[in-house]
Symmetry: C2
Subunit: 247 residues, 2 copies
DNA sequence: TTTTACGGTTGACATGGATCAAGCCAACGC
DNA sequence: GCGTTGGCTTGATCCATGTCAACCGTAAAA
């Protein structure tokens, strides 16, 4: 049956649709700044798309590394496990962000990447990305910027964990989510959390009860409206003020 | 006077000595894995050495970024400042390690790098490093590994700040220092701290008093001998056990 | 519709580390 | 030699967050 199917417009379109060159995230993701010809060369490399169901691993700590992943849609968390069972969420990633950069260092993944909702990712074989970025200066430079941005982000988290108190951490967390949703064209003021209180707590170095209490407190103060995972930010400046409060 | 000076052997030698190809840190630093010809091409790029006196800044947050720096000798800290005056030490760097990777992202440095003892650094103009790594695959790959290693290291710090208690953090810190001194051919068991208790505390998300008490406690337990900045590790396994103690 | 399960909320209490305060030690200048 | 200074140690007390426990709400399963 497939062989009798005409190569019509629809098929062409659907092929194009899986390519970076027609991805609506290209201004956020790896293709940023590339011209059309360069984009097409990147397309060759990013051919594989994969669906990851909610709760499934994209990769696990210890597995051999050979690709990095761009999130096409959905939501992930990454976490690190200590031998003694403690674990720490190291980040939450959304559409247009890259996963797997930690694996380059040892050629093995050093954390787990788990989908928090049904998601779709693009695999980018790393050795091919390296060779292409030897040819496309813009791609090389942008990739370096992405890695560097990850380092800067991590410093921000260290700041948060090292110097902020519970409510400041949560305020920073909400403002960060809000800003990232905005960059993706969603409402800055209203969104659904994809993660549990426990996962938020793990990321922020707090217990889930503390997260829950802080949410309640924010609601009492009129900064936000919470109902379970649904968040509405009512007073951005209030949250910002709270964050920079201490001397 | 300078113009009458003969171009003698000594001068040639001193020039060679400032090159990566004859640097005894090359197996730890950027040149790792390069062959002789490649090393010489890197030498062209890393011509500038600079001395930084104890307490001086190598760069400051906000300054334009154009180079990364390799530590030739000495010891640095990096820190981030919040508007409200709080600050957090994000890392301590020693010989063979790179500084400034955070600046690639925004083309401005995002943290301060301060020498904790009189130090010497090699400047590496970043655009030239990028073009050279487009030509030398090994260099490109190694640079990516170094950036990735920084990300992994930061995850380790997040783990530490997010899930460990004071004594565990300090034990992890001492073991990490010890391991890095070992990699540089120094004693794994005996060393001088270059940073104050306050700087350790800032890095570990603790107050200086807590750091001091933890040192005293380690000494009472016979894990270490401390005298001011001089540390002797008496029981590595004790420290390791302490780190993995909790369930 | 009822049951079950999981995540979330809230309260009471415990505690690790922060804070405040005093004093000590070593290096340095006078 | 003596005072000063900056960093370190130690003690007493306080408080933010952890811990433990009960209960609630929502959504999926029966």
């Amino acid at each position: 049956m497939a062989q009798t199917l005409p190569l019509n417009q629809d098929i062409t379109l659907s092929v194009i649709k899986t390519a970076c060159s027609s991805c609506n995230l290209r201004e956020l993701c790896l293709p940023y700044g590339l011209n059309l010809e360069e984009l097409e060369r990147l397309d060759d490399l990013v051919s594989t798309r994969r669906r990851i169901k909610r709760g499934d691993h994209l990769y696990r700590a210890g597995e051999a590394f050979d690709s990095i992943y761009a999130i096409r849609s959905g939501f992930f968390k990454t976490d690190v496990l200590l031998e003694d069972g403690r674990d720490q969420v190291t980040g939450f990633q959304m559409a247009g962000e890259l996963l797997g950069l930690d694996g380059i260092s040892t050629e093995h993944h050093t954390c787990n990447a788990i989908a928090l909702e049904d998601s779709e990712i693009c695999s980018i074989p790393f050795n091919r990305l390296e060779s292409l970025s030897r040819e496309i200066h813009t791609l090389q430079h942008h990739f370096h910027k992405v890695m560097s941005r990850e380092i800067v982000r991590d410093h921000g988290v260290m700041m948060l964990l090292g110097t902020m108190r519970a409510e400041e951490r949560l305020a920073a967390f909400l403002l960060n989510l809000s800003q990232r949703f905005t960059a993706r064209g969603f409402s800055h003021a209203e969104f659904y959390l994809r993660m549990t209180r426990e996962e938020i707590g793990s990321y922020l170095g707090l217990k889930l009860e503390t997260v829950s209490r802080a949410f309640s407190r924010f609601q009492e103060e009129g900064y936000i409206a919470v109902q379970q995972k649904h968040i509405r930010i009512l007073d951005v400046n209030g949250l910002k003020a709270l964050m920079n409060h201490r001397a």
